[in-house]
């Protein structure tokens, strides 16, 4: 609860800080704000479950863990944004304020106990993201991305809202606990098809937000068009919040009709894996590959949801964490590398931009290698255990064919992730030594070290809920 209040107030403060002429104060201030929010978040650790705002918002350790991932990711992303110093047209105060506001939305999505709260969270997060996507005002691709994201996002939100109304019509309530009560009693006796329709429409809206196939079409263009720093924000925070919301929705309200929705999610998971992985193999742009890779990771997370077994909760938390760390590290290196050269008038974001990276920049090459290994799910990285827990949750439910297909797809994943490693280490290139600001370096080291630490000791997070 504290982060919601803190971030709302501090977001407004950030806007006012924009009036000050000194740009140097802004970045430390925002980092401080995020650190305060992070501390405030864990202030309620082990005190829950607590209910706030007329029982519309729930705080328990799971909420706090997801919030922790979201806020820590935001901290790292803000830290590598470097205050937008090198971009004369940027409006850092507004960007940061929007980021802080969008975090409020993300946290509401994580802890909602009432469907209206979910809707508010999704909207607060999405509207901020539409604006940030288009923040590169003079760039055609950024504008196109924002428009595309906005139109399709608005449409998806509409479908989601429609789903909520149908659910209200069927169950008479927006509250998760009352929906659960209805689903496990009346629904069992007299099945209501309005409830099924409502659930499906609500799921479609949510699946759009986490870019699951076949609702993924916006993802590559939006990820590519948005400034890389906001792409990072989108691919980590929106995805974590989206899956936290999906998990809460399904596990708190719809376990009674598991037989109805599990196959739907399973098929969407497989479709997402196919689209994400096969789409990624044909890309020449690293950034577009990361977009498709983001789709494929949504597929893995959906497998955990499909099973909704005992290990699922841990699997989603761990996977989101591993994925966020590696994604931040990968985009962090891309931001530095793509500045070096241009390709067709844009920053060079192709694989070829990484050619010969290891020669002069062994540190950056190592960071990007660890992050690719983790995304590919190679053992001794956090990503491996993420996949392991996901497959475990399916196996716990006795579903084997879904992870079997996922395994095939993760082999495809190795193909495109290794292209980056091969480009950095084994191909010839002429990248000069890239200067990395000390703070930037700390964040990259942090992401890499955590990826390896969680790879060696996946039990660190065990049993905290």
């Amino acid at each position: 609860m504290y982060p919601i209040v803190l971030l709302s107030v501090l977001g407004i403060v950030t806007l006012f800080l924009g009036f000050s002429k000194s740009k140097n104060i802004l970045l430390p201030a925002v980092l401080l704000f995020l650190a305060i929010a992070l501390a405030g978040n864990f202030f309620e650790w082990n005190k829950g479950p607590l209910l706030y705002f007329y029982d519309m918002f729930r705080v328990d350790n799971l909420t706090l863990a997801f919030n922790g991932i979201i806020l820590a990711s935001a901290f790292m992303i803000v830290a590598i944004s470097g205050g937008f110093q090198d971009n004369a047209e940027a409006e850092p105060a507004e960007y940061y304020a929007l980021m802080l506001f969008s975090l409020v939305g993300a946290i509401m999505m994580v802890g909602f106990e009432h469907l209206i709260m979910l809707f508010l969270g999704v909207e607060i997060l999405s509207v901020a993201m539409y604006v940030l996507t288009g923040s590169n005002k003079r760039n055609l691709r950024s504008n196109e991305a924002a428009l595309k994201y906005f139109l399709m996002g608005a449409f998806a939100t509409g479908i989601m809202l429609f789903g909520m109304t149908l659910l209200y019509g069927a169950t008479g309530s927006f509250e998760l606990s009352e929906i659960q009560a209805y689903v496990s009693t009346t629904q069992q006796a007299v099945p209501s098809y309005i409830l099924y329709a409502g659930l499906l429409l609500l799921l479609i809206g949510m699946l759009f937000k986490v870019s699951a196939a076949p609702f993924h079409f916006w993802t590559p263009d939006v990820y590519e068009g948005a400034p890389t720093i906001f792409t990072t924000f989108m691919s980590t925070i929106v995805k974590t919040a989206g899956f936290a919301a999906l998990y809460r929705l399904l596990s708190h309200s719809f376990t009674g009709v598991y037989g109805f929705w599990w196959l739907v999610i399973a098929i969407i998971a497989i479709l997402t894996l196919l689209v994400g992985n096969i789409g990624a193999t044909t890309q020449n742009s690293f950034k577009r590959m990361m977009a498709y890779s983001g789709i494929s990771h949504a597929g893995y997370l959906l497998i955990a949801l499909t099973a909704l077994s005992k290990p699922t909760q841990n699997a989603i938390v761990f996977y989101s964490l591993a994925y966020s760390l590696s994604t931040i590290a990968a985009f962090g290196v891309l931001i530095l590398v793509s500045k070096e050269k241009t390709f067709e008038g844009q920053p060079d974001e192709r694989y070829d931009a990484f050619n010969g990276l290891a020669k002069k920049n062994p540190f950056l090459a190592f960071v990007v290698t660890v992050s690719m290994l983790s995304l590919a799910g190679i053992p001794l990285t956090a990503g491996f255990w993420g996949k392991f827990f996901v497959f475990s949750s399916a196996a716990d439910r006795g579903i084997i064919w879904v992870p079997a297909i996922a395994v095939l797809m993760s082999v495809v994943g190795i193909y495109y992730y290794f292209r980056v490693i091969i480009a950095s280490y084994l191909k010839e290139g002429d990248i000069a030594e890239i200067r990395v600001a000390p703070f930037y370096k700390v964040i990259l080291i942090l992401a890499t070290v955590l990826t390896i630490v969680f790879g060696l000791a996946p039990g660190l997070l065990e049993g905290i809920f």
Binding site: I378, P379, L380, F388, F391, S392, A395, D396, G398, I400, P403, A404, V407, L408, S410, V411, I414, Y415, F418, I422, Y425, L426, K427, A457, P458, G459, E462, G463
Partner: protein, 482 residues
């Protein structure tokens, strides 16, 4: 605890090698590998074959899930650990006349590889086994991709994806097995032995394991990555791949496949033996056609491993014991053969049989060493290859007479391609490429002499090694007969 030391020592040596830099890398790596050999010999001296798993350790890893970092040695493990510890210093020593760029990284990767291999052979927890199984891939991938020949990028990439593909199926099978264990679940390999699985699920697991290990070895029809990778990789990496890493596959069959899915073996064992026997004949025939010496050995290795797999799938004491001794013998012979080829290549700049000839006239010492190792590979009595092939063939024969007879052709075909190799390179008129050929240097002899001693030792008194693994093999076979 000694097992943990065996795994950690090469890692520590590898890190030190990386730190001392290019000038001393070779020497430090060699000292590290020799220390590992010394430790392995010490463990052997303390080892009691009848006492089951020894020198074990166990640390909780995911405590609540019953997954632990656990390893230990039984006879089967020890034989392969000895092989790894014996070959690693020789492989390092075999590079002393070369200079590889960025040599600190090169040698540390060899040591990391050796640590991962020891880990595979000693892990008693299924997920730890999987972890090392994958981890072994990464150093050898970089060895081949950075220091390899012209086509290295494409070839090693195929190799990497191919083997990764197989082992992920094993991961799914292991996770499935893990959830079948009673209570709060455990991933100890021995717990998997006692599961009562239906014949249908055993069939699925059989194929998941089969694909994983068949790609690693490789067996027909999963071998297409192998000749290219062996040819393109730098010779030390080829030695690691063929000498030791291939044994991970056979070891996996023995340790996991046979005892966990005996019913699967009953249903599909025949098919697996047939595939293995096809591999023997197919590999031998292609080997006969080869002009490139390295490719020839690659295909011969493919044929040999087919026989090992056939013996293992037959699941008799003879078959498993034969596979154990043949793994030792094959590791020693193939490293020796690749080394001889490397010597010839570095002197004459060619590997093509058409361009060579008459080396006996200029290098008698090399010829003698080459011949002894080659005869070992041909399975002449009193050399190491004979014992293994004899036991393996008798096992396949007991399994099915016709298949045994076909597999027996390996002895004839093997002598054809091996003697052809020797004849075309060493005998005949002296080719112009052979001008100025120097005989063996001291460091080359230091590699070949231990290998030759082992060829003869195992050939004359195999019981030294057979007795290590026998109790463990018999113990394992109890689960196959359940």
């Amino acid at each position: 605890m000694l097992t943990l030391l065996l795994i950690l020592l090469p890692i520590v040596a590898g890190v030190i090698t990386l730190l001392v830099g290019a000038n001393l890398a070779k020497q430090v790596a060699l000292v590290g590998a020799l220390a590992e050999l010394g430790l392995a010999l010490f463990v052997w001296s303390q080892f009691d074959p009848a006492a089951g798993v020894q020198f074990g350790f166990k640390y909780h890893w995911l405590a609540s899930a019953g997954i632990s970092f656990a390893a230990g040695l039984d006879g089967i493990s020890l034989v392969l650990v000895l092989l790894t510890a014996f070959l690693t210093p020789l492989i390092i020593l075999s590079t002393f006349s070369h200079s590889y760029r960025n040599s600190a990284a090169f040698y540390s990767l060899i040591l990391f590889m050796s640590a991962a291999l020891v880990g595979v052979f000693t892990a008693t927890d299924a997920f730890l086994f999987y972890l090392f199984f994958e981890a072994a891939l990464i150093p050898v991938y970089f060895l081949a991709a950075v220091w390899g020949g012209e086509n290295r990028l494409k070839v090693t990439f195929k190799f990497f994806i191919y083997t990764m593909f197989g082992s992920l199926f094993m991961l799914v099978a292991l996770i499935y097995l893990y959830y079948q264990t009673p209570g709060t679940h455990t991933s100890e390999i021995t717990a998997f032995y006692n599961l009562q699985l239906s014949a249908k699920s055993q069939g699925f697991i059989f194929w998941a394991f089969f694909v994983a290990f068949a790609i690693k070895m490789p067996l027909f029809p999963f071998h297409t990555w192998q000749p290219d990778t062996y040819t393109e990789a730098p010779t030390p990496a080829t030695m690691l791949l063929s000498g030791i890493m291939l044994k991970m596959g056979v070891y996996g069959l023995i340790r996991l496949l046979l005892p966990i899915v005996p019913l699967g073996l009953q249903s599909y064992g025949m098919l697996a033996v047939v595939l293995s026997v096809i591999g023997i004949i197919y590999g031998s025939i292609i080997a006969i056609q080869q002009r490139d010496m390295k490719r020839l050995i690659a295909y011969s290795s493919f044929a040999h491993v087919g026989l090992m797999a056939a013996g293992v799938f037959a699941a008799t004491t003879n078959g498993l014991q034969g596979a154990m001794i043949q793994m030792l013998a094959h590791g020693i012979n193939v490293v020796g053969l690749f080394f001889v080829i490397d010597i010839i290549l570095s002197r004459t700049k060619t590997r093509s049989l058409d361009q060579l000839g008459g080396i006996t006239q200029v290098a008698p010492q090399l010829s003698v060493y080459f011949l002894i190792i080659l005869l070992g590979s041909v399975a002449l009595p009193l050399t190491n290859g004979f014992v293994g092939e004899f036991l393996l063939l008798s096992s396949v024969f007991a399994f099915n007479g016709w298949l045994g007879a076909i597999a027996g052709l390996t002895i004839i075909l093997g002598s054809v391609y091996m003697l052809r190799l020797f004849q075309m390179s060493m005998f005949g008129p002296k080719s112009k490429w052979v001008e100025g050929f120097q005989d063996l240097t001291f460091s080359e002899k230091a590699v070949l002499l231990p290998l030759v001693i082992m060829v003869l030792w195992i050939g004359i008194y195999p019981n030294t090694f057979l007795s290590i693994s026998e109790p463990a093999v018999n113990n394992l076979l109890q689960f196959v007969g359940k």
